[in-house]
């Protein structure tokens, strides 16, 4: 069985961000169209929150871990 690495955690999170958009759009009664601060929920999520969360997840989990410092 493959070990769970920070990279796989990051990839799963990015997938969840995509799935979240589809789920939000699937909510009944046009819930995604409810406006919050002038902007619909779908736009807040797909245009602002999910992209920002994607950037943070990339920096936190997808970057290569720094190697051990080699002192002379």
């Amino acid at each position: 069985m493959r070990p769970v690495t920070p990279r796989s955690t990051g990839v799963v999170l990015l997938w969840l961000l995509l799935v979240g958009f589809l789920l939000l759009g699937a909510l009944p009664n046009h819930t995604a169209s409810i406006r919050l601060g002038g902007l619909p929920l779908l736009w807040w999520y797909g245009g602002v929150l999910a992209p920002l969360a994607g950037v943070l997840a990339t920096v936190r989990w997808l970057a290569e871990p720094r190697g051990p410092r080699r002192d002379r």
């Binding site: 690495t5 990279r7 796989s8 990051g10 990839v11 990015l14 997938w15 961000l17 995509l18 958009f21 589809l22 759009g25 699937a26 046009h30 995604a32 169209s33 601060g37 002038g38 902007l39 619909p40 779908l42 736009w43 797909g46 245009g47 999910a50 992209p51 920002l52 994607g54 950037v55 990339t58 920096v59 989990w61 997808l62 970057a63 290569e64 720094r66």
Partner: protein, 493 residues
């Protein structure tokens, strides 16, 4: 050229980036999905387990297959972007060939002349500044922040021709419209042909549909009624009436802002195509290792590109609702919106900024794609990336093909989908040691399935589920290649 700028430039071609505002303007929900996938797909692709990117087939035949597949992909991407330049030239009133020649010659010159090959980071920086400056200027001149501008667009009772629109003041040739939406009028609309010409329309007389052709003298007008449809393709220059509904536009701002009928399979098709394409274009055969700084830079730049696309769409729709005419196409977003916002020569300067941004992005992409192809050519020592004759042929063929209008986004999807089906399965799921040919077999099968469905797409057809596979052939081609890999791995275990 740094790894981040190479990845960014190879991924964010102008045709790719401008597809987001075009989709956002057409249907906000679909545009948001496309933008989100465009941002996250390369990150997911690069986030695969470290080291797997180096697992490209190491035998000569496998390497040749990868190189040929990527060469075709690069050719298609160049074609899409040079065709976009031709569309832009036609939209701005210049001959189509001028836009094509300028981009093709500049692109070839940059890839052929060795000292200029390391200019991609600079070109990306130019594109960023030249794209951001008009956006800030339009926002400042409009006097509305992004949220207020969005609310203003969503609150529009209808999208109407502004009095200062070029379609109202001087008129534009009908042949400049490449959109797919029918030019159906929703109210009585008087059209004027300043230079005269032949105009064809399908008119609705009660329940009877009839085709009418008018030969108009210079300055002569004709009135179309609600339900009448104008035929496109005629070169006649037309002037529309100010304050009338734009044919092809959404019914209202509210209708535009709502997530319309959900097309799950289409959204899945976009996701799979771009994801497999990102794996093939950015990772196949390359060891990609991103430090925290580089990962942040890459993700941040993708976020900025998506943010620019959203803001530019909102201000463009607010200031120039005439961009809906006959269906939204990407080249319209390289024109500075709101004719009345800026006086000359400031407007011309901002327009020059937009053109510089588009050209710089294209040139950066050309350099990055050439480097990408060279990096995959292990047996030839990267020679393919330095072959001037080959690149001249590639740019020449793309330029020649671009003389006929094609949809740049369809070409981009074909390029990424084909590359994804050919290269992604073996990149994601490396064949066992000593069985590199298995990856090639899987790629060939995936590519054949993809090509078959793409051919069916050109002929048109398919039902609900089959229609999605025909519309997005990577939905079937990618899994087909993966199944071949899975079967081959089982046999070798």
């Amino acid at each position: 050229m740094t790894a981040v700028s190479r990845l960014l430039a190879a991924w964010l071609t102008p045709a790719m980036l401008l597809a987001v505002p075009a989709a956002l303007a057409t249907r906000a929900g679909d545009g948001l999905w496309l933008g989100l996938v465009l941002l996250l797909a390369p990150l997911i692709a690069l986030g695969g387990r470290a080291g797997e990117g180096t697992a490209a087939p190491r035998d000569d035949r496998g390497s040749l297959f990868s190189v040929v597949a990527l060469l075709i992909t690069v050719g298609l991407l160049l074609w899409a972007n040079i065709a976009l330049a031709g569309d832009l030239a036609a939209w701005l009133g210049a001959p189509r060939w001028q836009g094509i020649v300028v981009t093709a010659v500049a692109g070839w010159g940059l890839t052929a002349w060795r000292p200029l090959r390391r200019t991609a980071p600079l070109l990306l920086a130019i594109a960023l500044v030249a794209g951001a400056a008009p956006l800030l200027q339009v926002a400042w001149a409009t006097g509305l922040g992004p949220l207020a501008a969005w609310e203003r667009v969503a609150g529009q009772p209808a999208f109407r021709f502004p009095a200062a629109s070029p379609w109202v003041t001087t008129g534009r040739p009908l042949a400049a419209l490449h959109g797919r939406a029918p030019l159906v009028f929703e109210e009585v609309h008087r059209l004027t042909a300043p230079a005269g010409g032949v105009l064809r329309a399908r008119t609705l007389d009660g329940t009877r549909l009839s085709e009418i052709e008018w030969t108009l003298a210079p300055g002569q007008s004709v009135a179309l009624r609600a339900g009448d449809e104008l035929e496109r393709g005629t070169p006649v220059r037309l002037r529309f009436e100010a304050d009338k509904r734009v044919p092809g536009a959404p019914a209202s701002g509210a209708a535009w802002s709502q997530d319309g009928p959900r097309r799950w399979l289409d959204r899945l098709g976009v996701l799979i195509t771009l994801l497999l394409g990102a794996v093939a274009l950015l990772r196949a055969g390359l060891p990609v290792r991103l430090s925290r700084d580089r990962a942040g830079l890459l993700a941040g730049a993708l976020f900025l590109a998506f943010a620019w696309a959203q803001l530019w769409t909102v201000y463009a729709v607010l200031q120039s609702p005439d961009l809906f005419l006959g269906g939204v196409t990407p080249e319209r977003f390289l024109e500075v919106p709101g004719v009345a916002l800026f006086a000359e020569p400031w407007r011309r300067t901002l327009q020059a900024f937009m053109l510089a941004a588009g050209l710089a992005l294209f040139l950066a992409s050309s350099v990055a794609l050439r480097e990408r192809l060279g990096a995959l050519d292990r047996t030839g020592g990267g020679e393919i990336g330095r072959d001037r004759g080959l690149w001249a042929a590639l740019f020449g063929a793309a330029a020649l093909a671009s003389l006929w209008p094609v949809d740049p986004w369809t070409l981009t999807l074909l390029a990424l989908g084909g590359a994804g089906c050919a290269l992604a399965p073996a990149t994601i799921w490396a064949p066992p040691p000593g069985r590199a040919a298995l990856g090639t077999t899987a790629g060939v099968v995936g590519l054949v399935v993809f090509a078959t469905l793409a051919a069916a797409q050109l002929r048109g057809g398919g039902g609900a589920v089959l229609g999605a596979a025909v519309g997005y052939p990577a939905l079937a081609g990618g899994p087909a290649g993966a199944v071949v890999l899975w079967l081959g791995r089982r046999r070798s275990e």
